[in-house]
């Protein structure tokens, strides 16, 4: 359960969004410049709201009225960026292991094997990010986020930097992720077709405001 009710002024642009979602995949839909990335950065804790609250599963992560702001690194919210952002000085295996190390989690062989199998990245483990294709990079970024055992996974247009063929290559992995990984997700996209395939609930954003909320049928 994710409850968001925030305001943020960014230069000329003002974001004022409120929604709550219990869906497995909440699709955040809107044109570029609608405030999707700002909103997701606020949820992640990378951006601080001017006013408002963010609550996940009953835990308050932001509440400006009482001065609560849990820093990003303590939120246990995974984030898959459009540009993957793999660490260039670490190989794929070390990238995958990074979140576990930082959170001091015990090694979980079973999950490790399952994620690697799910994303089909077993053959990439000893490579450096510089030697991966765009699609491979994005799969590793998904695995890296999942293996940090987040309670919520944010995906900011994870297919946005890929061409059509690559998108079709990654999409099935995202569907499997949704059905098998058991982590609620917020999926940001400006592509209605993509969200129709993945999302279970839609939050529609226009010029910093939530214009509609509901099932996938609001995407017509």
């Amino acid at each position: 359960m994710l409850r968001v009710d925030v305001e943020k002024q960014l230069g000329e642009f003002s974001l004022s969004a409120s929604f709550s979602s219990e869906g497995r995949v909440t699709g955040l839909f809107g044109a570029s410049g609608a405030g999707k990335s700002s909103l997701i950065n606020i949820i992640a804790g990378l951006l601080r709201p001017d006013r408002g609250t963010i609550v996940i599963d009953g835990e308050t992560l932001d509440d400006t009225a009482s001065g609560i702001h849990v820093p990003a690194w303590r939120r246990r919210i995974g984030y898959v960026f459009q540009d993957a952002r793999l660490f260039p000085h670490l190989d794929v295996a070390q990238n995958l292991d990074y979140g576990r190390r930082m959170n001091r989690l015990a090694p979980d062989r079973a999950q490790h094997a399952r994620v690697i199998e799910l994303l089909d990245i077993g053959t990439l483990l000893d490579r450096r990010p510089g030697k991966l294709s765009g699609g491979e990079r994005q799969r590793v970024a998904l695995g890296r986020a999942l293996l940090s055992k987040p309670r919520l996974l944010l995906l900011d247009e994870p297919l946005g930097a890929l061409d059509e063929a690559r998108k079709l290559e990654i999409l099935p992995y995202l569907v499997r992720l949704r059905d098998e990984a058991n982590v609620p997700m917020v999926y940001v996209s400006h592509d209605a077709a993509e969200l129709r395939q993945l999302a279970t609930q839609i939050v529609m954003l226009r010029q910093g405001r939530v214009t509609s909320f509901g099932g996938v049928k609001v995407l017509t």
Binding site: G45, G78, R85, P88, H89, G99, M102, R127, S148
Partner: protein, 231 residues
């Protein structure tokens, strides 16, 4: 080949010791300052930046004299350190290391600062979302990514330290076996009749050391850069 005398060896080894210690001690301070200048905005930042660069533009004899006033036996800091911690800089090799460290500091900091400025901060954000606290982000992402600049700064600082002359001789004089580095030994030999041959040998040594440092810097930088680009 080069018939280096015992006295010359003493000067060479002392120079190496002084430059290595100066570089190693200056490096953590250099990294911290580079990070501060690259990342933080604070009151007095431009003043701090200017002070760090001062040894580059001041006459070395002035820097040496200021060090003598501050860190000498009767200096404000020097007196305190000598009385309470037993650390003496005046006319000791440690003072030579301090002078070299101060003089080489601007050169050491600059590449470190540039490489920290060049880091893609979005990678640090990614580390944060994976649960890394700020100091862990620094040690697992920022510092490894800045490594080429850190090494380049260290080598440059070392090369400057090994050639330092003016501030060192002003602060700790020119005592064989204690504060007489290659530079001050050459200076003494040039003023001595029949000192030309010995001075020449030391000149060759210092050219070789400087060239070696530059080649090492280049090699480190290339290796580190290759590492960062995933090769």
């Amino acid at each position: 080949m080069l018939d280096i005398s015992a006295a010359e060896w003493t000067a060479i080894l002392l120079s190496l010791r002084v430059a290595v210690i100066a570089t190693l001690v200056a490096t953590p301070f250099g990294i911290a300052l580079a990070w501060l200048l690259a990342r933080k905005d604070f009151w007095g930042k431009s003043v701090l930046d200017a002070v760090v660069h001062l040894p580059l533009v001041l006459p070395p004899v002035v820097t040496g004299y200021l060090l003598l006033l501050t860190f000498g036996r009767r200096g404000l800091v020097g007196g305190f350190l000598a009385d309470h911690l037993g650390i003496v800089f005046a006319f000791r090799w440690t003072g030579a290391a301090l002078a070299c460290g101060v003089m080489s500091f601007p050169l050491l900091v600059r590449p470190m600062r540039l490489s920290i400025e060049a880091i893609d901060r979005r990678l640090e954000q990614a580390a944060e979302t994976l649960g890394a606290a700020p100091f862990k982000v620094f040690f697992t992402v920022t510092l490894p990514l800045a490594l080429p600049g850190v090494l380049a700064g260290m080598v440059l600082g070392f090369a400057k330290a090994i050639g330092e002359f003016g501030a060192t001789i002003t602060f700790v004089s020119n005592i064989p076996g204690e504060t007489q580095t290659i530079s001050s030994a050459i200076y003494s030999l040039i003023q001595t009749p029949d000192g030309d041959a010995a001075a020449g040998r030391l000149v060759i040594v210092s050219v070789v050391l400087a060239l070696g440092a530059l080649i090492a810097a280049e090699w480190f930088a290339r290796r580190a850069t290759a590492r960062l680009h995933g090769n």
